[in-house]
């Protein structure tokens, strides 16, 4: 079952209420998204730690072949 962009944003928003979140449906198929998350809590974290935090927010939706979310290209950063 493909996910809606809004669902992805809502899930991320739960964990990062004040983040700037941009979701793009890359292929128009509800399966390949990119997400850019800019949040103050990322300051002092390296990229791996930032991505892990977002992955955690997605609560297993990205878990391989069983996940609803097939491909999410992730970009994370702290606000400049």
């Amino acid at each position: 079952m493909p996910m809606q962009a809004q669902e992805i944003e809502d899930l991320i928003r739960e964990s990062f209420p004040d983040a700037k979140i941009t979701i793009t449906d890359l292929a128009g198929d509800g399966n390949h998204y990119s997400a850019e998350v800019v949040d103050a809590s990322f300051a002092g974290m390296n990229r791996v730690q930032q991505h892990r935090a977002v992955t955690k927010a997605l609560k297993g939706k990205m878990d391989g072949s069983h996940g609803e979310l097939h491909a999410l290209a992730l970009t994370t950063k702290a606000p400049a």
Partner: protein
């Protein structure tokens, strides 16, 4: 003992620690390791292909582990690194990132820095060419 008589929970535990041990051994024995779908000469997934392609183009000597050929490693690597996706790049035993992070680091020059710091040989001109083509 027939396989069916072994308690599933016990078997799973043994498999996991075995996977962890094998992963540890691989990333200690090789300076640069890419866990990927397919091999570096024949990747079987676009994301794996992108990272292997960058490393190949930069002339980096790296070990490739085809997770499609090893179910135990395929699942074990995700727990090992607390990272849900493949490919996964390790340098000097440290997890560096997956496809998005390696792409970003290649374009920003951070990957060059990481290789410099860890005495990993690579072709700087090739890295610059990637940046020129994607700048």
């Amino acid at each position: 003992m027939p396989r069916g008589t072994t308690a599933p929970t016990t078997r799973k535990k043994i498999d996991m620690s075995d996977a962890n041990a094998r992963i540890s051994e691989t990333i200690q024995a090789n300076n640069v390791v890419l866990f990927m779908k397919g091999t570096k000469s024949m990747p079987q997934c676009g994301f794996s292909s992108r990272v292997a392609g960058v490393l190949n183009y930069m002339g980096v000597d790296f070990a490739d582990v085809n997770v499609l050929a090893d179910e135990e490693i395929r699942h074990g690597i995700k727990d090992f690194s607390d990272w849900p996706t493949i490919p996964q790049l390790y340098v000097k035993g440290e997890f560096v990132g997956g496809c998005d992070i390696i792409t970003e680091m290649t374009l920003s020059g951070e990957l060059d820095t990481l290789f410099d710091e860890n005495d990993v040989t690579y072709d700087k001109d090739a890295a610059d060419k990637i940046r020129e083509a994607n700048g």
